[in-house]
Symmetry: none
Subunit: 422 residues, 2 copies
């Protein structure tokens, strides 16, 4: 089965609302093994909606629309869909009674505009709306050549109808292809380098087994997708590819699916009974912010000193003023002293530090914008790494903070490896 998602509403086109409905439906459908061919957003204009239905059914068997089902003059979906299928709109008496009851229960008079909600295209079935007044609509032509589900645009109502009536209806159809997905999350390696390290996969990949690289400021995700008639087979192909990838680039993989680096790290710290503190200059508290975005982070996160002024580096973190003067704030010894300093000051097992130039100004030929030293200290000693990123301040702060988290991850990985039996 191939589906087209059609979201309707001027507010989506002009960006007043981000279209989260299409993403949610896309996820639900792909979990059912329904291929989404295309997803389109159009405004509240009858002929555009009509044209898009035409185009959608060129490739898809199933079209799902959201939006335009309300009582106001700019809600056109019901009329356009009836017109598209060449059937009249008829008042559904049961629905009309439900609407009257709804307003009566609330002690409000029945608004004339609400009458529109009781109009149903002839031959369409209703899908119950457990959380609102406008029901969803369903229609399947002979041999299921053209199926349509018409849902409201309010996300809660759309989801409630889909979960209660639409998805169960689709789940019972036997003709669905099985699709399995798995996402491996990496960090500490760029997209091109990762692909190079992964190397040739031509003996594994084909039309029914795909790999996509998705970069972001917290790392590159690898998405594995397998299609098949049989779930077990699809899963086994994904598993095989995952194993190859883990053999080749496993050291960069920190998690799967929706895992967050800060949460994975948090679990590892908690498991090993380790605590962490951060000393932040160029990240300005962002590393601490990310660590504390995880509920329960107080188990392992002690605190942070954001030493934006050099004075704070010296007075609070104990950075040697001579070293600071000689090497500058963005330097290896300062990064190391900051990491050791915060570890001692706040009494944590691990100290991590950042000192760099987020930009857009402040760069020099030796230390251009985007330069960062990330420091690490624990009871065994300290060290620092220099990295070079981009020119944008916001992006740099994100990449800098990811590097600091990655520094902790790498050390925990080394510890684990060194404790393995030889």
């Amino acid at each position: 089965m191939k589906a087209h998602i059609l979201t309707i509403g001027d507010e989506l086109l002009i960006g007043q609302t981000v279209d989260a409905n299409a993403a949610w439906l896309g996820e639900q459908f792909s979990l059912l093994g329904i291929e989404i061919v295309r997803s389109t957003t159009v405004g509240d204009t009858a002929h555009t909606i009509h044209t898009e239905l035409d185009r959608a059914f060129e490739d898809a068997d199933l079209v799902v629309t959201t939006g335009g089902l309300g009582p106001t003059h700019d809600d056109l979906t019901r009329e356009v869909v009836a017109d598209y299928f060449g059937v009249p709109l008829r008042v559904n008496e049961t629905l009309m009674q439900m609407l009257r009851d709804y307003y009566e229960r609330r002690g409000r008079s029945f608004p004339e505009a609400a009458r529109k909600i009781a109009l149903v295209p002839a031959g369409f079935e209703l899908m119950d709306n457990p959380v609102g007044t406008a029901p969803g609509l369903w229609y399947a032509s002979a041999n299921d050549a053209r199926m349509i589900a018409v849902l409201p645009g309010i996300p809660q109502e759309m989801k409630a109808i889909a979960e209660a009536a639409l998805l169960p209806r689709l789940r019972t159809r036997g003709d669905l292809q099985t699709v399995e997905h798995r996402t491996l999350l990496t960090t500490g390696v760029g997209e091109s380098s990762l692909q190079e390290k992964v190397g040739d996969l031509s003996e594994y990949l084909d039309d029914a087994l795909k790999l996509a690289y998705l970069p972001s400021t917290s790392g590159v995700r690898m998405r594995l997708t397998a299609y098949g008639d049989d779930r077990a087979e699809a899963q086994s192909r994904i598993k095989q590819l995952e194993q190859v990838l883990r053999e080749r680039v496993g050291r960069y993989i920190f998690g799967t699916g929706d895992d967050e680096l800060e949460a994975v790290l948090g679990d590892q710290l908690r498991e090993r009974g380790l605590t962490v503190a951060t000393a932040e200059s160029c990240t300005g508290g962002f590393v601490a912010h990310r660590l504390t975005n995880v509920s329960g982070s107080s188990d392992y996160f002690v605190g942070s000193v954001v030493s934006y002024a050099n004075r704070v580096k010296v007075e609070q973190l104990g950075v040697d003023p001579d070293v600071l003067a000689e090497h500058g704030a963005v330097s290896e010894p300062v990064a190391r002293q900051m990491a050791q300093g915060v570890r001692t000051l706040l009494g944590a097992n691990i100290g991590v530090s950042t000192t760099g130039i987020a930009g857009p100004t402040g760069g020099t030929p030796d230390k251009p914008v985007g330069t960062i030293w990330v420091g690490y200290a624990d009871a065994q000693g300290d060290h620092a790494r220099r990295l070079q990123f981009v020119k944008d301040r916001t992006v740099n702060k994100e990449l800098f903070s990811t590097s600091a988290l990655e520094m902790i991850r790498r050390q925990l990985q080394r510890r684990a490896a060194s404790q393995e039996p030889a």
Copy 2:
């Protein structure tokens, strides 16, 4: 001018990523008076992208694509676009040299896959990417019958190219309808209260002059829009409405347009020669992060102590352990002592503190999730405010941090008012 937005990527179709690019572009275009006819998402499949370009140009003069510009095998946009316009892809030597330099500066060998980024369809112009390696592409056919802008899918890169190269290019075209926009930014007041305080505007508003309230975690924006054939008239109507709004709710308005609260606040602090330090518990460094997102913030931001563990509140910030035991960490006296403590410790004029329950767990009947005390201290004394927000941790951290910034803004406003001649 009519535009079609075409976002490309399997991850969008299957709902792994919510398509925020289309919304952002939609907003920017509608601010320029460009009508968005339709917005479509397709997967990483050459023939679907090709078909969609065909359909897009049926109604639109301008097509903007995002995604599929990376170096990996599933990045197809550049090839499909070249094919669609019937032009060959050629290596751009300048771009190739930039890429080589990019990797050399990072001390990394040039990955073969990156070579793809230097391929440019013949006749296309490059649009500089200030934050990444892949530039945007631009092409306009004879008489501008078909224009295309090809942008990367990573939001930061897409926005940076659009702001630096695409939007200015479109702004210079004379055939756009005159639309004037102005956004007044408020903070410290909810959407309903703001609307109530604004009161009746029916004598000002009509089809050609509109006001929208747009709530966010950093405050409610009021967007004023005027349409017209004549720029001067539209501007004068906007100005009149702005004056009415400023008379009624001016004390909540901290800026206009894209102003950020943290930047406006920074300017005020710099102007008055004041410095600030933060002591953060529930915000976990997020207030410091926001303050340091502003370039040049080292002029007034000294640093922060993130006192996640209570021990840090006592040992570093000098919170009285008896007060902590008696009132709990989330209390007025602790918030005040934290603010005074960090002010003294880091030697700043102003200290601001946050202590609260971000959630989702940790609430009590007296102090439910979403409770926060924001503390403020300067040479004149200290005080704290209790506020109550929602159940979501991420949203709370944002609202909490806005409250801390708003606390500083309010105090600066009071100072200014008290120094005005009577």
